[in-house]
Amino acid sequence: MADILKTIRDEGGRAGITRILYGANLSYDRLTRYLKELSEAKLLREMEESGKTIFVLTERGYEFLKEYRRIKEFAEAFGIKI
């Protein structure tokens, strides 16, 4: 799920489903399920733009990514892959 958020952040904080699919390297079914969960957790916001659905990273999503990076560094210091 962090990969989905990172992909959207790297796209400037907003991305369409095709971009996310490519960046997160997930199947379509799993991606739509995760996107729903992330939206419910208010880490993402779904929007319509020129007839296309796009996903926007929320402030909470940015905060989550910062926390995730800290935790990843902490785990890696102990040699634990997450």
Partner: protein, 204 residues
């Protein structure tokens, strides 16, 4: 000796607080990732910190009893040494489990790759703990060799200094000053871990 003893309690208290800080960070990481290794680290550092605090409180209490030449002191020192030894051993077993998980996933990855009064210390537990720490320190060394990061180096240094402190504690049976030196080495080990936490917190 009394002033040296107070210094050991002070150093152990600081070490325990750092241990709880690492446990707290590991708990946050576990909640986010559900990684078993992080759960083992969380419980390991919690038990380690609790063990150290137990010894600090018990040692202070025993010091008070000693003033009154209370006959319960000997039994109390023995009991606390067992409790402390067990808690510390459990903590190191949990660290070992955290690294066993790591080693297992790595293999899969690779395939896919006295009168010196209240010195509460039990030589038998020290030996077991040293054996466990050798494994933990070796795994952290391998991690450092793999990724060459400063945070990994700090964890390697932390566990290695903990191991050295236990060796020093063993020698304190013969040379009492080694007890205090052991605590100092242990404290430096925990400071290495604290430095890693600060670096991670600042995002360096």
């Amino acid at each position: 000796m009394p002033s040296a003893f107070r210094a050991d309690l002070f150093m152990e208290t600081i070490s325990a607080l750092i241990s709880f800080s690492v446990a707290y960070f590991a708990m946050k990481a576990y909640k986010l990732t559900q990684s078993k290794s992080l759960m083992h680290l969380y419980f390991g550092f919690s038990v380690l910190g609790a063990g150290m605090i137990t010894r600090v409180i018990a040692s202070s209490y025993i010091a008070l009893l000693l003033k009154d030449f209370d006959p319960r002191v000997r039994a109390l020192i023995f009991t606390i040494s067992i409790i402390y030894g067990l808690m510390r051993t459990i903590a190191y077993i949990l660290f070992t489990l955290a690294y066993v998980e790591r080693a297992r996933s790595k293999v899969e990855g690779e395939l896919a790759t006295a009168v010196i009064p209240p010195i509460i210390m039990n030589p038998y537990f020290e030996f077991i703990q040293m054996t466990l720490l050798i494994y933990v320190a070796a795994q952290s060394a391998m991690n450092f060799i793999e990724n060459r990061g400063l945070n990994s180096l700090l964890i390697f240094a932390g566990f290695t200094l903990l191991l050295i402190s236990h060796i020093t504690f063993m020698f304190s049976v013969m040379i009492h000053q080694m007890y205090l030196i052991g605590h100092f080495i242990q404290l430096i080990g925990f400071f290495c871990m604290l430095l890693m936490l600060i670096r991670v917190g600042r995002g360096k």
